[in-house]
């Protein structure tokens, strides 16, 4: 799967990180790959799930 079209979801609050859009509020520019998010990245909405917990939507 193209990494730029990948979407990853927080399993707790269902926040979606879309690499194509990034997250303007959090300061992740459009095109920032999920893999390139900092290692200590936590869900911007619930804060209690981390990068390692996120689920790639295409894999569901």
């Amino acid at each position: 799967m193209n990494k730029l079209t990948a979407k990853h979801q927080c399993p707790e609050c269902l926040y979606i990180y879309d690499a194509k859009i990034g997250d303007e509020y959090e300061g992740y520019d459009p095109g920032t790959l999920f893999e390139d998010l900092p290692n200590d990245f936590s869900c911007p909405d619930c804060s209690v799930r981390f990068k390692i917990d996120f689920i790639e939507l295409s894999s569901i």
Partner: protein, 392 residues
């Protein structure tokens, strides 16, 4: 009364009515208690009426919690989505926001237009502070929600006691580090309320500023900018409290000072009792385990839950931080407080009594079973507690 209906996995129909539906209004109107005291003073001319809200919070509320049967009921999981999407509940949190502004301005107006004795001045200032402490609780409920509108309302209500850094510190700091020694908002066994306050308040400011600074750096912005969420709230605080000084005169400054301090102390009181001594364990990779229900103290006492937007179902709140207050659940065998939060605050203010009651409860928890290694201990008291409980 609204009936929610859903189907279970097995296909059977589930009907649910929220018996507390109308009682949640109490959380919205509880901030008006200062006005009740002011009205009593106005009618009778007796300043003792200004003490009424203090009697209500510290005597009547704990008494009601003691008398009324605890509520362990949960809405069925199947109707949670329906319950969450019912706008009535969120409107109650919106209504609470202006109540805090009204409470502060009414108290400031009354203090500046009446010749009160020192104790009348002091008690009305404390009452106003306590109410703004409840405002931090309203800000807590709103600040956890995803939408911009509710996040902005949180900023607004947190501005009343000048505590605009709360949402960032709480959501991204406390929820990540809860029940670990790193968390400034998790109290430790042997740590008095007063020692905790001195640690917590500055830690919340530094952690939130650091967190917001990192976000702004990612956005290639300076800390001093319009997008700084903390400074936005501080600006509202400055306008609000500055206007109060301009309108009511310089003699209102001690009132505002006492008000702010007591609002912050209300929050510290809640934080002190919510995770006292509880500790997440580390796995083989030295990572802290995920926050579990037994890492929070809870209370199913009815009255205080109804005036605090269910804050006391704290384990479920930490498990599902964005879940709305009306849907928070009780679990079996949770660490349980002896009274509602308001009654427990009183116990916390008397350190020896708090230690006497809570240390025993803490050690008895099934996941701790008397093992001090499984407790978050105040470093200064570690040796004393080890000796006391004869552990090496």
């Amino acid at each position: 009364m609204t009936t929610y209906s859903a189907y279970s996995n097995t296909g059977s129909k589930i009907l649910y009515k929220d018996k507390k539906r109308w009682f949640w209004l109490l959380s919205s109107i509880f901030p008006l208690q200062a006005i009740a005291g002011i009205y009593g003073h106005h009618i009778t001319g007796n300043q003792l009426w200004l003490l009424l809200p203090l009697i209500f919070i510290y005597i009547l509320a704990p008494l009601l919690d003691f008398i009324l049967e605890e509520d362990t009921n949960n809405p069925p999981e199947e109707v949670t989505l329906l319950l969450n999407s019912d706008s009535y509940y969120r409107i109650l949190t919106y209504i609470a926001v202006p109540m805090h502004f009204i409470g502060l301005i009414a108290a400031a107006w009354w203090i500046s237009t009446n010749q009160l004795d020192w104790w009348g001045y002091l008690s009305l200032s404390i009452v106003a502070g306590n109410i703004s402490g409840l405002g931090i609780n309203t800000g807590h409920e709103l600040g956890h929600k995803k939408g911009k509108f509710e996040k902005n309302l949180a900023k607004l209500v947190l501005a009343v006691p000048f505590y605009g850094h709360f949402t960032i510190d709480h959501n991204q700091g406390h929820h990540r580090e809860v029940a670990t020694p790193m968390d400034g908002s998790s109290s430790r066994m042997g740590e008095s309320f007063y020692a905790f306050v001195c640690r917590e308040i500055p830690a919340a400011i530094t952690r939130s500023f650091g967190t917001e600074n990192i976000r702004l750096q990612r956005r290639k912005q300076d800390f001093l900018c319009f997008d700084n969420q903390i400074l936005q709230s501080y600006v509202i605080s400055t306008i609000l409290q500055g206007s109060i000084i301009v309108i009511f005169g310089l003699k209102i400054i001690p009132f505002l000072f006492i008000h702010n301090i007591f609002a912050w102390l209300q929050l510290s009181s809640a934080n002190y009792i919510e995770h006292y001594g509880l500790l997440r364990q580390k796995d083989e990779l030295d990572h802290y385990e995920r926050c579990k229900p037994h890492h929070s103290w809870n209370s199913n006492h009815v009255f205080s839950n109804l005036v605090l937007f269910h804050l006391q179902r704290h384990s479920d709140h930490h498990t599902h931080p964005t879940r709305r207050y009306q849907s928070l659940r009780n679990y079996d065998d949770l660490p349980s407080l002896p009274n509602g939060y308001l009654g427990c605050y009183l116990i916390a203010y008397i350190p020896w009594l708090w230690f006497y009651i809570m240390d025993k409860k803490l050690l008895k928890l099934s996941h701790i079973n008397g093992d001090l290694r499984k407790i978050n201990i105040h470093p200064a008291k570690k040796l004393t507690l080890m000796n006391k409980y004869q552990q090496t």
